[in-house]
Amino acid sequence: MTLVKTKIGRRAFIRNTGLASGGLVIGFSWLASCKMTPEQVNSLPKEWFELNGFLKVGDNGMVTIMSPNPEIGQNVKTSMPMIIAEELDIAWKDVIVEQAPLNTDIFTRQLAGGSQSIRQGWESLRMAGATAKHMLKEAAAQAWGVSVDEITTKDGVLAHEGSGNSAGYGEMASAATSIEVPEEVELKDAGDFRIIGTDKKNVDGKKIATGQPLFGLDTYREGMLTAMIVHPPAFGMKFKSMNAESVMSMPGIKEVFRFEAYPEDVERQWSDGGAIPELVAIVGNSTWECMQAKKALNVEWEEVSKLESTSYHNDELAKLLEKAQEVPARQDGDVEAALKKASKIVESTYSAPYLAHNTMEPMNFFAHVTPEKAELLGPIQTPEFLEKTLVSRLGMPAEKIDVRMTRMGGGFGRRLYGTFAVEAASISQRLNAPVKLVYTREDDMTQGTYRPSYKVRFKAGLDEKGNLIAWHVRGAGTNDALIFENRFPAGAVDNYLAEKHSLQTNVTTGAWRAPRSNFIAGAEQAFMDEVAEAAGKDPLDFRLELFDRAINDPVGDPEKNDYDPARYAGVLKLVKEKANWGTDTGKARGISAYYCHNSYVAQVLELEDGGDIPRVENIWCAVDCGIVINPLAAKNQIEGGIIDGIGHSTYSALTFENGKPEQSNFDTYRLMRHSEAPKNIEVHFVDNGIDPTGLGEPSLPPVIGALSNALYKATGRRYYEQPFINDKPPLVG
């Protein structure tokens, strides 16, 4: 066991003193949305005792655990409470999970992004469980007149061997509320885990499979109005005028007005990136009526800045690839000199288009703003930042603003930017009425905040023995400078130069699942294969050689290198073994590895024969994310990331003509479908007991490289331009 100071937000442990009984009876909000059998209702506790902000114990031993972070499909609503339950030592079947509201006094980092929920929540979640367990033990010790050190716990039962006493947590819960919060608590050793590391099913699984209301879009309230927005049809345009009269008389339509969700004096947070300052709102009784009015409404727009097309973005990015960066992002040795004396030089350029997030549930939010208070409910990855913006936008102190999170129909980074919630609040405040703002798919896809479009050029030099002596990378992206200069192969090559540029454009961009990595990994890992081939080496061995170099004799300051070469090599070796890399299966195979968001992933991908773009048959994936909390869900994330990476790099693109997105729904924007998905995905974890890191993103970036490399083996052609489906060989003749 490890002793740790209970340093997590002490306020999480300040209990509600207004409760004479020491207990706290809560409303069963979850009852409303979940049909329970009479037995289940009877088994509910009569009273709940809140031991800290993360959990309460019922008089019958059931435990309610608050899941602090937003749930976007990464499954934290199951895995975060598992960590608390582990240290509390409760049986998982006795746990009820509730989504916590935004409460920065109790919870730290209530944000879904960067695959950080588990990594950054690990310590505080464990402490929440361990301190509550300690308080229950202390209560039992006092009741039985024995030493607390002699009390053991298991599955929600306290026991004292010497005296033969035992009691369920429920029996001690009331007394535990008056126990002093310990200054220090003991945490379990990983070897004693009983919940962590076991398969636990999604806590919302049954509600999802039976269609219960869970998502923001499922919010309906008495007297609620539906709102829709009309945004400029092209980037570079703004509102000029409209004729609202004609639609005001349409059935069910209440209001049509121009509004500013972000007047100039609003204090913006980073999460307001991509906000469109001026919009038109259509408010009515129902969604369909608003949709009809939206179609009929005539709005005139005016050009305010350049109307950019994809050809313009591509030309400008290509120009940037010809330009040196004034002060290179990183420079080791002398790349130019090394390339001059290299016996072989390999050079290639890779590119990828803009992508939309396309969460399955379009942007939406419920807001009810009155002069007294503001109630906000919906899908948001950044509730804390949303609240800050609302304080400024609504002119209300934070105490009067209640932000609650629903389960989200996907995030992928899109709901980091809660402009839609600010729009909903602005409309509600103006009308002094409860309003649900709903984006159509077209609104959602053409509104902005895209994955940037990228280009990168690599140049590598090999000596006569096939050793990598120079690596030059120069990358550019729209509003994003693409390159992580301290990632591999930085530190493994004597002469290394990384340069990056950002092209300012008026098409708004934002984080999209594994930002930057989602392109640079695939490009780098495809290029690595080209270099290995030129060196006449097996691509996996070639990578391992480089990691050996980074382990034994790192170039530059090893502290600066943003990866651990031993763990990197570890996943490659694991996948080598699992996929039997090196044996001829008669099928085209590719390998790839990447490190991002604190986790390491290596993959071997194998294609079926035939087809324009042959279908992926098998994938072996090795992952090092330290301790795996919930293997069943962890694998789901990894599978999802793999499918996401293959799908988008093969099929998806968002292009522009004079500022206007050329795709606006799934008839023109292609997403991977069932018959195109990989047939088998096998996931293996490195077992090393290191503190856990996240999995929402890390499996996506490398698989694009594995796919490119397998496609080369299958077709004899390198794929340089995403989406690969469009990257056709030039017609001859």
Partner: protein, 151 residues
């Protein structure tokens, strides 16, 4: 506005809406049946799938005036206790990530198995191709459909 009597999940329901209103919005906005989801509105994603006389149908492009006497089944009416073999298989395989597409996936899969209790992999893929899962749960969906077919 016009009045329609619909047969939904075995119950008669009266609604007073514009005849052009898609069944999707009648269910969600007027009947408080929100399990049927909105994803695209143009019959491309399958999130809004219901059964119309047993056939998987995209409710976003099925106007209320087209329904007539047909029986509509939504995810809420697929089984009494959420224990339809397909729902059970979904839980067993732990299919969902975000979960948003899954009601539609389950409705398509259950209609498929009703007509073809032992589909091949290819038949499953073809039947399910109209249902997008943005989170990429395709391999688990196929596994769950096969598991449901066995039971």
């Amino acid at each position: 506005m016009a009045s329609f009597t619909l047969n939904i999940n075995g119950k008669k329901q009266e609604v007073d809406v514009d005849p052009s209103t898609p069944v999707l919005w009648v269910l969600r906005d007027h009947l408080n049946l929100v399990g049927t989801k909105f994803g695209c509105g143009i019959a491309q994603c399958g999130a809004c799938t219901v059964h119309l006389d047993g056939t998987a149908t995209r409710s976003c492009m099925l106007t209320v005036s087209m329904v007539g006497n047909s029986q509509i089944t939504t995810i809420e009416g697929l089984s009494e206790e959420g224990d339809h073999p397909v729902q059970k298989a979904w839980l067993e395989v732990d299919v969902p990530q975000c979960g948003y597409c899954q009601a539609g996936q389950i409705m398509t899969a259950s209609a498929l198995l009703e007509k073809n209790p032992n589909p091949t992999d290819e038949e499953i893929e073809m039947a399910m191709n109209g249902n997008i899962c943005r989170c990429g749960t395709y391999t688990r969906i196929k596994k769950a459909v096969k598991l449901a077919a066995k039971s």
